[in-house]
Symmetry: C2
Subunit: 139 residues, 2 copies
């Protein structure tokens, strides 16, 4: 039941901390996409974004906004990527927001976002309907 | 000065809308990473996450949370990816949150997150210091 990110939050696991407030902690990913790649977590052990309680929405994403805004000055970045893996590709089951500095021509464009096409407009419409239906039946 | 996403918000550009409330709109990306790939935008024309005003943090990310939570029921997904490109790799200069359904073994793991290593711990420490410094000098 031990969670590495809970360990970082409580200080028992070492990390390079870049941000701390009452509700969130940000620290360097040890295997960054680019140097400065930060993982921002709620101090509370919450597994994925769908479980994040209302009262943590603004604190968590306000801190992500600050970190994204700091990357250009800190690291001569031109922008940033902010991302969350929920369950699939999620290496630690404690919600973490990746905040990654980006530069133009840094090599990530293209393979970062492989794209498909819908078969036709009816296919897209049926997919949209499925999502609307699920939104109308929360939980 | 015309913005495609402002056009979708005001109804002048067609899209498959999956979510609407007073402050945000979600619609299908026409070239999805996977079918159901949704773009969630604030109705207001805001360019990137660092410019998002406080009062839109909870509405925007509350809607992203709902969409991420709907993907498993809607599309038999096992999880989701939620991501924002700020300036770099950002195709439309109107803040948009990608919400993408994910399945285990869907082929994205690995090339989605190419990783590096820090040269040594001192390198990581200097990068962390740069970020902390920029956070202490907002704006």
């Amino acid at each position: 039941m031990s969670c590495t990110f809970c360990g970082i939050v409580d200080g028992s696991v070492p990390a390079h901390i870049v941000w701390e407030d009452e509700l969130t902690v940000g620290f360097l990913d040890t295997r960054p996409v680019f140097p400065g790649h930060t993982l921002l977590v709620p101090r509370t052990h919450i597994e994925t974004l769908p479980e994040l309680p209302d009262e943590l929405l603004a604190p968590l994403f306000g801190a992500a906004r600050l970190l994204a805004g700091a990357m250009p000055e800190a690291l001569e970045a031109h922008g940033s990527f902010v991302g969350i893996n929920n369950r699939v590709s999620q290496s630690v089951a404690h919600l973490h927001v990746h905040v990654i500095p980006r530069k133009f021509k840094d090599g990530l464009r293209g393979f970062f976002w492989p794209r498909q096409k819908y078969e036709d407009d009816a296919h897209a419409a049926s997919v949209a309907e499925a999502i609307r239906g699920a939104l109308g039946r929360p939980g």
